[in-house]
Each structure stands twice: as C-alpha cells, then as structure tokens.
Symmetry: C2
Subunit: 253 residues, 2 copies
C-alpha cells in the first residue's frame, strides 16, 4: 500500500497537463486555468520550472527517466487529498506523462483516483507548423528510443511506415547515451525511400534558440541530431517551396 | 494571373490558423491574437462562424469540399494587401487547410506570398485526452477518405499499420456519401488485429453534445460512425481501466 490508504478506498484526482512546446502563446487557456488552481505541480524539472511560482503552489521537480516514480508521487498526493497536476512538455498524451500516470495508477492502492488529461500543442505540430505543412497527409509518430521497447520493434515499424509511404515524425531521435539510433533509422528508411526524401530537423522549436533545418534522407547527418531535436521524414510526395517551406499534398495520384 | 498582380511580384501573407476542436479553452493565445488582428477570415462555414464578429473583420464562409478554391480566395486577398487568416478546426496542419493553401500557392501568381501556419490542438489529441492516453505509444494518423487518394492506397496503409501494431487514429471515417469505408477498414484491420482490440469513437469532442464510446474492433458497428466521429484503434497492448479509461503502455515487452 502507498499513501497509507487501504486498497480500493483511494480517491482524488490527478490532472495531466500538456504545456505545449515552450512559449506561453501555445499554452491553452484550459491548461493555464488548471495550473492556477492546483496545489502541487509534479514533473521533469524543465517543465515544472515553466509553471510560475505562486503562493500555495508546491513544485516537485524530478529527473528525466523516472516517469513512473513521478506519477506515483502525484497519485500519492491525490490520495492524500491534494490538488495535483503532472506536467509534460508538448501534449502529455504524445510521448508525455499521460501513459506513465495510467501505468502507475494500475496499482490497487490508487483505485478510485481519477486521471484527467488536458491536451496541448505537441512538438510534432510545432515543428510541422514552423516548416509549413509536412504532416498534411497520412503520417506516423514514433519514438526512436529503445529504452522501453526492443530495437527490433523499432526497425519493423520503420520498415512498415516506409513501405506504406507515410510521413514519419520521430520523437527521441537521440539522447546523450543513445547516438546511433538515428543513423540506423536513416539506413532502414533508405532501404525503401529515395535519398532525396525531404527531412526536417526541428531543434528547440518554440524557444528563443529554435532552429529548423530542411535536408534529405541521403544527406541527413546523424551527428547533427541530439535530444533537443524532432525529425520529420517526408513521404515520397513531400516537397519544398522556393521559399524553403515543406508541405505534403493531401492527394495521392 | 489572379488578383491582377504580375507573376512573381506578389507579396503579402496568409496565416493558417488551427482553432482547436471547439471550445475557447483549447484555442491557443497565439491563435486568438492572430485572429484579433486580421481583416479577413476565410474557411469552412462552421469554423469561420467560431471567429467572433467585430468591426473591421470580414468573414468569408464556404462549403466543405472546396479547399483549394478557398485557399485561392485567401491568397488573392493577401496579394491585394489584405491581412487574412484561413481557419481550420483542430490543427490546420493535420487534415486541415494548411496543405491546401500550399497547394494553391504553387500557382506563380502567388509567388512571394508568405504562408505562416499556427498550430492548434488537433481532434485526435482531444479525443485521446478525453479517453485517457490511447496514443501514448507509437501511432499513425490516417484519413479514410478516398476523395483524394485511391482506396487501394488506404487499404495498403491500413495493412502496414496493423502489421506494425501501431495505434491508429482515423480522420474522416465517413461522410454522407461515404458510408462503407469504415466497415471495410475494420475488416482489413481484422485480418491482422484481434477482435478484442480496443476502439474509441469520439463524436463532437469539445462540444456540448460530445460523446465517447469505448468498444472493440470486433463489435464496432459501422452504422454508428458518421462525419462527426474520430476513431482510434488501439495497439495490441492498449487496455481499458476499471473506470473505462483507455491507455496504451509506453513499453513493448
């Protein structure tokens, strides 16, 4: 048992809130209101730090790779009667904290705790908007991390997405310890996609230091990709305008 | 030539703005600010009608299936020096107007017109948040409409997504004239997915009349699906909590 409460008798609510990719201008009014009313904010430190400090708010910041511990902490606070929000960058439901909260909430100690997810603008949408309209047709969104799934699954999915000619948005293309995956992914995609397939690399989109690079699958330099990047690989129809904007036609001919 | 301007000499800007799925609480501050500053709003009538009327604003509402005409209208206004926003429900970059604007802007008459896309909360994110965290792992987003692509392409993509065990969000599952596709899609998915695969049907999510149904692929009734629905088909790991919330684990074991 956690939180000193008997199995089945827990109650309370955990909000899971997507903060968007960075600027206030992408934070929904719903999320703003919710964050103004909770007593606790729980999350990865850079996201928690984006919630303004105020009287009556306790901010609980944690490291990057302890999602389920962080979720349990929030659930414990809810069980204790506190009003608590778990925060994620982007949309909490897209490789954010929402799934981790449900994972932690499977523990019978948390039966009865309500989990409510508030959507936000995701990183893929922010990068796409800055680039033009690259996900304007059918697309897939994948995490390249093999921390939670075998690399063989990642490769199988990359092959399926390439064969189906879907646009592909890649989260977590690299981290400090994972630097080889994006090169391997490029090579797997090149088995079926042409080297001139359009690739967008968005880095820190929504922040002051943001940058956007348009390149091709053949010329993508794995060494240029780090954990601050989101990569979008176009479909065969994805094209670049004279002004350098990237879009994918809605039609397939 | 359009707009009476010589090829290559056009200028101006078209904003493409995602309004989110419905409520003001999901409209980003960036989109609100942009809409407060333009002189013209162009779009499908139900979306245009969501932009409050005010002095100095002209609202141009059009039908549902004339995206490129609508985009040209906006580009003509920009060439004429007007400040104009094209609006979409959800995120304009996800089966919204962004791609149609780039398509229309290929016309040399619009060379020099800048297109700027402002992201919004998409319908898939809204339905996912209401349901729990169904897109918490790798996923695909597809339109089931064969208005702009052959049905054979749709089927090939459905098979690839099913084989790769991606969560699948389905836009445009049906319309008044297209009622058979969702049943056919279900049958294609059932070639590789189990009948107990979790399915979410979100209808009018974000509006007063919203409803959310959790069912399975085997029990999905095609007759229950219309143009107001967005359908999410889970991965094999997608599960339903005792409270009826749906989530997909981040991990694959």
């Amino acid at each position: 048992m956690r939180g000193g409460v008997s199995t089945g008798s827990a109650s309370g609510e955990v909000l899971v809130v997507g903060l968007g990719p960075g600027p206030e201008a992408w934070l929904t009014p719903e999320a703003s209101s919710a964050l103004a009313e909770v007593g606790h904010v729980v999350g990865y430190a850079p996201y928690v730090n984006r919630v303004p400090q105020r009287e009556g708010l306790r901010r609980h910041a944690s490291g990057n790779t302890v999602e389920v511990d962080r979720a349990r902490h929030a659930l414990d606070l809810a069980v204790a009667g506190e009003r608590v929000a778990v925060v994620s960058g982007g949309d909490a439901g897209v490789f954010g904290m929402a799934s981790a909260v449900f994972e932690a909430a499977e523990d019978p100690a948390y039966a009865g705790v309500r989990v409510r997810v508030l959507p936000g603008v995701s990183a893929v949408q922010a990068v796409a908007a800055r680039a033009g309209a690259p996900v304007g047709a059918d697309f897939a969104v994948m995490s390249l991390s093999d921390r939670l799934k075998p690399w063989s699954v990642v490769e199988d999915r990359l092959r399926a997405v390439a064969a189906a000619d879907l646009v592909l948005a890649i989260y977590n293309p690299a981290s400090r310890s994972r630097t080889e995956q994006i090169g391997r992914a490029r090579d797997v995609l090149l088995e079926q996609r042409k080297p001139d397939t359009v690739v967008i690399v968005g880095r820190d989109i929504g922040r002051a230091e943001e940058s956007l690079t348009v390149t091709t699958l053949g010329e993508l330099d794995p060494a240029s990709i780090d954990m601050k990047c989101l990569v979008i690989v176009g479909a065969s129809s994805t094209r670049v305008t004279e002004a350098g904007q990237v879009w994918t036609p809605r039609y397939v001919r």
